[in-house]
Point group: C2
Chain length 225, copies 2
DNA sequence: TCGCTGACTGAACACTCAGTCAGCCTAGGG
DNA sequence: CCCTAGGCTGACTGAGTGTTCAGTCAGCGA
């Protein structure tokens, strides 16, 4: 599939798309220009002709993926805001190739991914503030850091999709083929998000054990007199 | 530092340790046998002489790291069980090189890491059952899947330690140098674990929206008539 | 028809890689 | 003193890499 669409695209775009697929699947270093050229149906010299160097091609891929993600975000903004940070995942569920590339770029040090993650954090924060006003999300003493932790957990699970698949039989990168089989991941996650994991007093005890707590008074003793 | 200890080790072990460091830092493909040989103070040919192939060296590294993790687990078993799955992280906090290698192996497909993760899941499950009996951890409808999700979140945050450092200024791989500065990660995490993220009714609503829920009836509507 | 441009190519280049091999050096036994 | 064995090495090989380059070809304006 997609062969017709490939024919309609220019060589430049076909090269970029093939590179995104192969970089995302095998990684940057493990992907040779020859394999990209073969997948795109061009000579490897043409890649250099258009993108200068392999790094230049990678930069173009980074840029294109981040642009795609940002544009897709606009489409779904204001949509199902209930999921909080889930929205970041859901809005990309139909683009497994983009997700593959992103997770790869996060561990291999992509160029524009840092800025993109910052974007995602801002979005997650906005979603959660909206959910908080709607009475769906509980307030936090560390709203920004909480959103960051939630975002990192989601993205981390995505990068470990292979292990997720092994332990839970859930393919987070499957796309819209089987969205109903994500339950074994989302059900325990939802349970954790709704009822929590530990009792409140246990949490307070562990929180007090952490050094230099910023504002809360320590129940056992106080340093200022 | 460590030069004396390196001298005491045999060439075989020095090669393996250098490989673990470099594989963990730069990845398997990006690390050449030459750089490993330089770091270990031996010739490149000696690596092949001892380990046969580069893949053989990698397998030996996998084996050694998993052995180390397993042995360290025994040391700290029955220790501070309060943290639930945190124990997996805490017991390795003084071994950043092992963690680096592990996170790398998880994304690059290490050989023995799958079995090791299975081990970790079993441990996490045991810890959480103990915590549940002690009244610190809440019961779950999906105990095993919940433990898997928590484990994957922790390991995922570890693999994204670069982004964790950027967003929260917390170095999860720092080791015992600065354990007190992990607060910006653990405080929101503890808050989430104790109070949760969303209200119970919101959670029930989202849970009911998931298809083929195994046992609970759907409160809003039913498709079968 | 001519000259020009730009997409495009095959062959070659310089380089790095993992792996091979003949032989070095030294310790230990005779 | 020689001899041998084995840990160990420098030099080498073939394969694979990104990049360069001379040159082909189709299209276009004059």
């Amino acid at each position: 599939m997609g062969a017709d669409a490939d024919q309609e695209l220019s060589s430049i775009d076909r090269i970029r798309d093939a590179a995104i697929d192969l970089f995302g699947e095998h990684g940057f270093r493990a992907t040779s220009l020859r394999s990209i050229a073969d997948a795109a149906g061009v000579s490897q010299a043409l890649i250099i002709h258009h993108y200068g160097t392999k790094q230049g091609l990678r930069t173009a891929c980074d840029q294109h993926v981040t642009d795609q993600v940002r544009s897709r975000k606009k489409e779904t903004v204001g949509g199902a805001a209930g999921g909080g940070h889930f929205s970041v995942v859901q809005q990309l569920q139909d683009a497994p190739r983009l997700l593959r590339y992103l997770t790869r770029a996060m561990t291999e040090g992509g160029e524009h991914t840092a800025a993109l993650i910052d974007d995602m954090l801002e979005d997650a924060l906005e979603y959660m503030e909206a959910g908080e006003r709607a009475g769906m999300i509980l307030p936090s003493r560390f709203p920004r850091d909480r959103a960051a932790v939630l975002l990192l957990w989601s993205l981390g699970a995505l990068t470990l999709h292979e292990q997720v698949s092994r332990l839970l039989d859930v393919d987070l990168l499957a796309g819209d083929d089987a969205p109903e089989s994500l339950g074994r991941y989302f059900r325990p996650a939802l349970e954790l998000y709704s009822q929590g994991l530990i009792t409140e007093q246990t949490g307070e005890g562990l929180l007090a054990a952490l050094p230099d707590d910023p504002d809360s008074a320590r129940p056992t003793h106080d340093e200022e007199h």
